[in-house]
């Protein structure tokens, strides 16, 4: 148990009813957030599906290079999940130093993912793709759907990196304990999980 928590308990005994989930309330809160965020992503993806079903012609712009790029991005994000797990694991066994190290690596991988993704974006923009324009002919919705869905995911990744930075700093200074790291980890895995749907639906379904 972290120092602050021990201090708190001895300082102010509050006997509570058992949490039905037997988990820290930050974790439970993160799970509830994940449920709602999943629904938000679902709404985006359903809108994309609706557009696509309703469209008479739907272009499929992605060449093999883009798909390959996507595969690399997936690999990066997946391994970042693993390093995040390592960080959580280390923090729970009290190895502060290695936990910090793993958090750093996770942030690095997250940044690489974002960079690769932006490269893909700029490639498309250079080819003339816009939110409202489809240079390859076919429905103009492709740009709209692709940029908005992946943009939302990218925002989540960037936010995640920033959050991890704060957590790492606070953890090193002892303001945060292992539950903070674990909670941040949950969020990070969720971002990874969303990508497992975004990649096939946004990239693979649009490969020619």
């Amino acid at each position: 148990m972290s120092q602050s928590a021990i201090a708190a308990v001895t300082h102010h005994e509050v006997v509570m009813e058992a949490s039905p989930y037997a988990m820290d309330k930050k974790k439970l809160g993160m799970w509830v957030f994940i449920v709602s965020d999943a629904c938000s992503f679902a709404a985006f993806l359903f809108a994309y599906g609706y557009m696509r079903v309703g469209a008479p012609v739907w272009g499929t712009p992605f060449g093999f290079s883009s798909i390959l790029n996507g595969v690399v991005m997936t690999a990066v994000l997946l391994s970042s999940s693993l390093t995040m797990l390592a960080a959580t694991h280390a923090s729970q066994t009290g190895e502060k130093a290695s936990a910090g190290k793993w958090l750093g690596i996770t942030m690095l991988l997250g940044t690489i993912f974002a960079a690769l993704h932006l490269r893909e974006w700029f490639k498309l923009i250079a080819e003339g793709w816009r939110l409202f324009y489809n240079p390859a002919g076919g429905a103009a919705q492709f740009g709209a759907a692709f940029f908005s869905v992946t943009g939302l995911h990218l925002t989540h990744v960037v936010t995640g990196v920033i959050v991890l930075a704060f957590i790492a700093r606070g953890y090193r200074q002892g303001r945060y304990d292992e539950t903070h790291v674990e909670t941040a980890g949950l969020y990070w895995h969720f971002v990874d999980l969303v990508w497992m749907f975004v990649f096939p639906l946004m990239y693979l379904m649009n490969a020619h």
Partner: protein, 100 residues
């Protein structure tokens, strides 16, 4: 707090590799020139499999109390399932559009 002590780091790496393999299968499927619908359903079901593994092991719901699973899954699936009520109109839109 039940942590992920139940699994060792190495087994997590194994899971990560497994997930990566599923992604590669999806990519290979993409280039089999399947009809769009078949491709969609196959990659979607594979993605659901991945998601399940990720939730159960990476987010170690498997090692939390079952109640957690029975809270988050019904709630989320509920929304996904009933959002599907929009599909009939998507298909109508295709057939009833004013300017073909």
């Amino acid at each position: 707090m039940s942590s992920n002590r139940e699994l060792t780091m190495s087994s997590y790496v194994g899971i990560g590799i497994g997930l990566m393999v599923i992604v590669l299968i999806e990519v290979i499927l993409t280039y089999q020139h399947l009809p769009t619908r078949t491709l969609l359903f196959s990659v979607l079901s594979l993605a659901c499999l991945e998601a399940f593994v990720a939730i159960m092991y990476l987010m170690h719901v498997k090692y939390e109390r079952p109640l957690l699973f029975w809270t988050i899954f019904p709630a989320t699936l509920f929304v996904f399932v009933f959002l599907c009520y929009i599909w009939p109109d998507a298909f109508r839109m295709f057939s009833m559009r004013l300017l073909q």
